[in-house]
């Protein structure tokens, strides 16, 4: 039985990820900002100059509201999924609690995500949209997104140990998700019959809530917030249960 210090272990694993990602890069943490900035610039160019889009004001901030949560989710889920395989030597040699490995992978990406979220706030202010009191909801929405990614990664990381094809399922899903969540279009374009699918997708829900708060400066829709909360917590519980079941045979399959 492992009877160590969970917070100490988690913080060390997250720091490790952070350090090894940036230590040998001359630009360091700026890489976290460069990717969304470039994507924002390209998408803004495409949708204001190639397919002019008069319906959406502040398109740069609008698209970044989609990109930041999307980037976090994609990175967190992909690295969470492969985390157990990547750390196979650890699992087979140290009796460290297995849950910590995918959780640390997601939380490390949450750190990068927070940097990008800071960028989003800066771009919002630069678009001359003032802060408002609904900004207080932002940490909660962000937290739920992390909870959801943790739950989902617990499931896919455990399944990936047994069925290694899982990572390709995740990667393909992530590519498709870019089009299926409202990153560069608005939820208001969606026909009513498809709307529920969006509302029960925590990633889409988070993007919508972010736009309500940051761009429209209105209170977030309570029923959307509730759905986001239910789905995220349900996913975490499901993740926990699946992981508990599957972890018993990790040693034999890694």
């Amino acid at each position: 039985m492992w009877t160590g210090d969970y917070p100490f272990l988690l913080s060390n694993l997250i720091q490790k990820d952070f350090k090894i990602r940036y230590r040998n890069m001359s630009l360091g943490v700026f890489w976290s900002l460069l990717n969304p900035l470039v994507m924002m610039a390209v998408l803004t160019f495409v949708f204001t100059h190639v397919f002019p889009n008069a319906r959406i004001p502040h398109f740069a901030a609008f698209v970044l509201c989609g990109l930041v949560p999307y980037n976090f989710f994609v990175m967190a889920w992909a690295s969470g999924t492969t985390s157990l395989i990547d750390n196979a030597n650890l699992i087979k040699r140290v009796s460290v609690p297995r849950e910590v490995i995918p959780l640390a992978a997601v939380l490390a990406n949450a750190m990068h995500g927070s940097i990008q979220a800071g960028l989003l706030l800066v771009i919002t202010l630069l678009s001359s949209i003032p802060p408002n009191r609904y900004w207080l909801w932002l940490p909660y929405v962000w937290g739920m997104q992390i909870v959801f990614a943790c739950g989902l990664s617990l499931i896919t990381s455990a399944v990936n140990v047994y069925i290694r094809d899982m990572r390709y399922v995740v990667e393909s899903t992530n590519t498709v998700l870019f089009w299926l969540v409202p990153v560069f279009y608005s939820f208001s374009f969606i026909k009513p019959e498809y709307r529920n699918i969006y509302l029960y997708n925590p990633l889409a829900a988070q993007i919508m809530v972010l736009r309500d708060i940051l761009l429209d400066q209105t209170a977030p829709n309570i029923s959307t917030l509730l759905k986001l909360t239910y789905c995220s917590i349900a996913m975490l519980l499901a993740g926990w249960a699946v992981f508990r079941l599957l972890k018993q045979r990790f040693y034999d399959y890694l």
């Binding site: 160590g4 060390n12 720091q15 490790k16 460290v96 094809d165």
Partner: protein
């Protein structure tokens, strides 16, 4: 097993014969005892240690371990070559189950035991293999567990450091702690352990006094020959 081979097997309705890494191996250790596990490659020694360390559960049977264990199954598991010696010590200590407070307390001891000196602030990719192993051993041995599980890791570093490691384990024994180890060096085993079990192909061949078992094992016509 791959999903597709599993499906194929299920469709054909055949099953591979089950392979047991260990079968019907029982032993008991009291506090302060020391047991060596010997046997040829593939005998199930490491599996046995992994089971005791709690890395996996047995399919059948029970394992009960009372007390804090530290398992040195492979040195430097979780070390990352881009992190400095200091960062790796902290990471490794947390993986092995030390608290932050305790790690800060014994950090200087770990470094001085390893003999790494000022290199502790350098990334370990600049270290020699021996230095990495010395640092890893040093972290593990400062865990101060009640039960120490060692898999072939005492042969690290140069002769001087090996002697130091050996002293450390011997000292651990003198303090009445429990030791479970795997080693091919029978001289070392005889000095460190009182009892031994001999495994071959997952079966228990012999159990008893360390000298008797190692002698019997040495006299056994090697299976590979």
């Amino acid at each position: 097993m791959l999903l597709r081979s599993r499906l194929a097997q299920w469709l054909r309705g055949t099953h591979r014969e089950r392979f047991y890494a260990l079968k019907q191996v029982s032993f008991q250790l009291e506090e302060g005892d020391s047991l060596a596990v010997i046997g040829p490659n593939g005998a199930g020694k490491s599996t046995l240690l992994g089971l005791v360390a709690g890395l996996t559960e047995p399919d059948e049977g029970h394992i009960t371990v009372r007390g804090r264990t530290a398992a040195l199954l492979e040195l430097g598991s979780g070390f990352h070559h881009d992190l400095t010696g200091r960062e790796n010590v902290y990471l490794n200590a947390s993986l092995l189950g030390l608290t932050r407070k305790r790690t800060v307390e014994i950090f200087d001891q770990i470094v001085s035991f390893s003999g790494i000196g000022d290199f502790i602030g350098e990334p370990i990719r600049t270290y020699s293999t021996g230095m990495v192993m010395r640092l890893a051993f040093s972290v593990a041995v400062h865990m101060d567990p009640e039960i120490l599980i060692i898999d072939e890791v005492l042969a690290v570093g140069d002769a001087a450091f090996q002697a130091k490691c050996f002293e450390k384990v011997l000292d651990f024994r003198k303090r009445g702690k429990t030791l479970l180890c795997v080693s091919h060096a029978s001289g070392m085993v005889q000095q460190l352990c009182d009892r031994a079990i001999w495994l071959d192909h997952g079966q228990l061949i012999m159990s008893g006094n360390v000298n008797e078992v190692t002698e019997a094992y040495a006299g056994w016509p090697s299976i590979e020959a």
